[in-house]
């Protein structure tokens, strides 16, 4: 029953997000445009801009929430979110460096952000293994924080030394948004994300064991070491791709898994798929607000996720403590 409600809700939200936009188009015209009839510009807006944008927002939101849930289990820390492990710093440095150094072109900024995130992943991974041959979640956390801080300060240097207007554009891009959504980005991201997402859904039971602690998990038959490494790699690769298509969108990966745990329990077999649907739906709503609230101006979607995510979270925490 819960799943039916969740599924219907997400479909309704996506439908509304296709019908409503900064350019006022009557519902009947939207319907005709979906079938390819009517004015070319309106058909283009509905089919190539709105539909791709809604689907991409859903995929990215779902990926971020699933990644957050998996990382919280991996490091056994409720503060974990997809960007915690140095990824936002690496991606930000990549994006700002590309803009400052004039590496432009159609895909310059997203590609550089992806490369920066990958670099951060490799460095943090090596750090986490440096202290012996076991991946220590505490070292992973610390490594992520220091690598992120280092990347952020190099990024600060680029910002201080580069022409203001261009760097401002890179910063706005980093704050997150789906203006780059197209059938191409949707296909590339969807194809890329399928494998890590399937892996994270597939390890629900080992994740349950891992939350008990590493020793009990080992005793119950989980190959903890391999699981941790695979989790880290899958979660990070997924986040890096999300950053490349949409910038850094906070709070979805932190708030959604906690919210579901509070109302739905801790089992990862429920949590991971539910996080995907709720995270996706939440980001579709946030993007809808970002592009319509101050139309024709557009807000960074990361700002909106924080503005709606934090109050929701506060309510949940209060309920939880009662």
């Amino acid at each position: 029953m819960r799943w039916v409600v969740l599924g219907v809700l997400s479909l309704v939200v996506m439908g509304v997000a296709v019908v409503v936009g900064p350019a006022p188009i009557p519902v009947s015209d939207v319907w005709a445009a979906l079938l390819g009839r009517g004015d070319t510009v309106i058909v283009g807006i509905v089919r190539d801009l709105r539909v791709t944008r809604v689907l991409l927002a859903f995929l990215v939101g779902g990926s971020l929430a699933v990644t957050g849930a998996a990382l919280q289990a991996l490091v056994r820390n409720p503060l974990a979110d997809p960007y915690l492990l140095g990824l936002s710093g690496g991606a930000g440095l990549g994006a700002v460096a590309a803009v400052s150094l004039g590496i432009g072109g159609a895909w310059g900024v997203p590609a550089a952000a992806f490369a920066g995130a990958l670099l951060a992943i490799v460095v943090v991974y090596r750090l986490a293994l440096a202290a012996g041959h076991v991946m220590d979640p505490r070292v992973l956390l610390l490594g992520g924080v220091v690598v992120g801080a280092f990347a952020a300060s190099v990024m600060g240097a680029f910002i201080a030394l580069s022409p203001a207007a261009e760097v401002r554009s890179a910063m706005v891009w980093l704050l997150g948004g789906f203006s780059g959504a197209s059938w191409l980005t949707l296909t590339v991201f969807g194809g890329y994300a399928a494998a890590p997402l399937a892996f994270l859904v597939g390890v629900s039971r080992p994740l349950d064991l891992l939350t008990l602690g590493e020793e009990p998990a080992t005793m119950l038959g989980a190959d903890v070491e391999r699981l941790k490494r695979a989790l880290y790699v899958a979660a990070s690769l997924l986040t890096a791709a999300a950053v490349a298509v949409a910038g850094i969108i906070g709070f979805v990966g932190l708030v959604v898994p906690h919210g579901i745990r509070m109302v739905w329990g801790h089992g990862h077999r429920q949590l991971i798929p539910a996080a995907f649907v709720v995270g996706g739906t939440l980001l579709v709503v946030a993007d809808l607000i970002a592009r319509t609230a101050f139309a024709p101006l557009e807000m960074p979607v990361g700002v909106v996720t924080a503005v709606i995510g934090v109050p929701v979270f506060v309510v949940l925490i209060r309920r939880w403590r009662d």
């Binding site: 283009g44 801009l49 900024v109 059938w183």
Partner: protein, 284 residues
């Protein structure tokens, strides 16, 4: 026009706050440092640096920002770095007897520190051609080149009047960035150039100099022409999602490059004429 009046009525503070100071005051309301025989001037914005050279006092300029690249002779002047929140120590090291600031809130602390060091300052905000005329007269008086200033202004006004024609153009969208899409609004100099060329900025309702919008909005405003820098236009051509915009699909794109479009100068009439010719050449 009616809309402009309404906007001003609802935003009294903003419009009343536009710098239109009385004679003898600069854009920050400071009294002009008359009587100063300025021989060593540091100029902290592209528009004022170019204006000083146009006024024929370029040889007195001993410092500029790293963005001031016009006229070519200005490149020989040492750069002091940024013009917004300038490095006060580097500015003072040029031993200026006058510092010309870009008037902005971000510069208030630097202005105060330069004044405290005993160096006279002038704060000017030259964002459009009316500002340029005001700045020319003001600097002409201050630097003892009033005759030159008067003839420049008369010449500019005559050339602008010769260019004035009924608005026969269509609507243009001015795009400065693609990730995310950032368009130019009403208060940017390029928007003024487009309007003086007889065209309309389809984002003229946006008050800010520039703002982030979605591609959907650009498509829905149906600009006759899309204007941008060469690299921005190249990006737009290579991305499928931009084909939703009529002007992109039908190759009605115009690349504008050069500082004549980014800050007000006495090259503006040529810039306006160029824009008008380039836009007229686009098939509609």
């Amino acid at each position: 026009m009616i809309r402009r009046v309404l906007v001003c009525a609802s935003l009294l503070v903003a419009c009343a706050g536009e710098p239109r100071p009385a004679a003898g005051l600069d854009d920050s309301g400071r009294p002009l440092p008359v009587g100063v025989q300025a021989r060593r001037i540091v100029s902290l914005s592209p528009a004022t640096t170019e204006l000083l050279f146009t006024l024929g006092v370029g040889s007195r300029v001993v410092g500029r920002t790293r963005y001031d690249r016009d006229p070519e002779a200005a490149l020989a002047v040492p750069s002091v770095g940024d013009g917004l929140q300038p490095n006060v120590e580097v500015v003072l090291a040029q031993r200026p007897d006058l510092v010309v600031f870009y008037h902005a809130a971000a510069n208030t602390p630097a202005m105060a520190r330069i004044e405290r060091a005993g160096v006279p300052i002038v704060a000017l905000r030259l964002d459009g051609l009316d500002d340029l005329v005001r700045g020319t007269r003001l600097l002409g008086v201050l630097l003892g080149v009033e005759t030159r200033a008067d003839s420049l202004v008369r010449d500019l006004e005559a050339r602008l009047a010769a260019l004035a024609s009924p608005a026969g153009g269509g609507g243009a969208a001015l795009l400065v960035w693609t990730d995310p899409p950032i368009v130019i609004g009403r208060s940017s100099f390029l928007s003024e150039i487009i309007e003086r060329a007889g065209w309309a900025n389809v984002f003229g309702d946006i008050q800010q100099p520039s703002s982030t919008v979605s591609i959907e909005v650009v498509a829905a405003r149906r600009p006759d022409v899309l204007i941008g820098g060469a690299s921005v236009l190249e990006t737009i051509r290579s991305r499928a999602e931009w084909a939703v915009v009529d002007a992109v699909r039908e190759h009605r794109l115009v690349a504008l490059e050069g500082s004549a479009f980014t800050h007000p100068s006495y090259r503006a009439p040529e810039a306006i004429a160029e824009v008008r010719a380039r836009l007229a050449a686009v098939p509609r």
